[in-house]
Subunit: 270 residues, 2 copies
């Protein structure tokens, strides 16, 4: 895979495209995928398992994000993580870094499909249990209350993910709405909007990832492993910590299984 | 001013730099400024007054943002707006587009100073009145509640703006903390964090603009005109609409006065 920069002035083809596996796949199938994962802890065991290689300084000196590339069954694969905050040292979680990382990744790599993978809280009332894997139907926000009439729908937004009936059937993944907000906890106003959004899971990045992918018209879906129950008895932060290792293992199973199903198929066949 | 793209692979000098006014200013003074303004309605009267010219497709075909460039007293000036949401048609307000627009603007223009200008709600309890112009001391978030210990401070963040004692004295602008959230209204949890942040004004972009400017180590401050009183009797959306034309006029006065004070001076002289 040629690892070089594309620039905005040229309509250069993707670095991914130069290593396309076959003319048949070029004609119709998904041959390159970018997976965005906010936290290093979520991503690293998967990156190791997939044998991806870190590219140094891939997004230039200013961006804190990391890019790991390689091939999977001869198709092109990259995982992009949000890196660390320079002031506080923690992972860059939340919508702002997720949007920028996604924009830079799709700009440079021009993937055929983008998957936002990671952890989420699940709603028991929507049938979600800890360890479940959910694929997004639509993605909304629940912490952008913009009460002027022209801004209300924009605030919540309505990001339509790729339809994946065969993938979900084959891998026994659930389908549902991902609702995104910048807080790990949730207050009454969030609850009201998550209910209005018909949310099955609550995460902190998917809507921003979807927004950035849409700017480049890259098809996408979110794949979320449930680490905690939003409408349950335990505090998110306790359940999240208790179940994080399980979520890492589930991502190590679910992501390769998803790649096996998706790569080489057309969007319509998912 | 040469209007061309810089790319991340080259450490190319800014398009701004090729039109620097004098060797003295190159040595120490601020010679190029980018002003980010979220809403077209906030920006357009100012852009017209300053005689700036819209650059077509400045950030590439994917980004919705607009760039207006020109000179002011022979110094280089650009105003960047966040453009419209393609699905809903409204201005791209909130932190996600603000961060991406700022990142792309500072990447390409490499300004000596970045100013995030616009409207905000003011706290009466902190001495703010409708029509006041406030310059930021620090900038925090009030809608990123991240309760795991390593993420709490990152969520609120602590963006240090350039110090501007002489500017504020000369122009009778107030000093205070800008607290940023993605909602036009505010709920109890926001109030608690805005109080903890010692917020004088509440806006929807400054923290994201500051985050992106810091990635490129570009010095910045926020300049906010108060359109509504956060801790007053009236709903934000009503006061915002009622006072928007006033805020436009104040921006048309305050921004050129700020440029007159800032351009040619060093950061230490502000």
């Amino acid at each position: 895979m040629a690892l070089r920069y594309s620039t905005r002035t040229q309509d250069s083809s993707s670095p991914f495209r130069s290593a396309s596996p076959s003319p048949q796949v070029i004609m119709k199938g998904i041959k390159s995928i970018v997976i965005t994962i906010a936290m290093e802890g979520e991503a690293m065991p998967l990156i190791t398992k997939l044998g991806l290689t870190q590219q140094s300084n891939y997004f230039g000196h200013a961006a804190p994000f990391h890019c790991f590339t390689g091939t999977y069954n001869n198709y092109n694969l990259a995982i992009v993580t949000n890196g660390k905050d320079r002031k506080f040292g923690c992972d860059n979680v939340g919508t702002v870094p997720a949007a920028l990382a996604t924009y830079l990744a799709v700009e440079q790599l021009k993937p055929d499909l983008l998957i936002n993978a990671g952890t989420a809280g699940g709603f028991e009332s929507k049938g979600m249990a800890i360890g479940d894997v959910l694929i997004s139907s639509t993605i909304h926000n629940h912490d952008r209350r913009m009460l002027l009439p022209i801004f209300v729908d924009y605030g919540v937004h309505n990001h339509k993910a790729v339809e994946t009936p065969r993938l979900r059937e084959a891998l026994k993944f659930k389908l549902g709405v991902v609702s995104t907000g910048n807080s790990l906890d949730h207050v009454e106003a969030d609850d009201a909007l998550m209910a209005a959004n018909d949310a099955s899971v609550k995460d902190m990045e998917a809507a921003a990832v979807a927004w950035a992918a849409e700017l480049y018209s890259v098809p996408y879906f979110a794949l979320k492993v449930v680490t905690d129950i939003v409408d349950g008895a335990h505090a998110t932060e306790e359940e999240f910590v208790a179940n994080f290792a399980m979520a890492q293992r589930r991502l190590q199973e679910a992501v390769p299984a998803t790649l096996d199903h998706v790569l080489g198929r057309s969007l319509e066949e998912l």
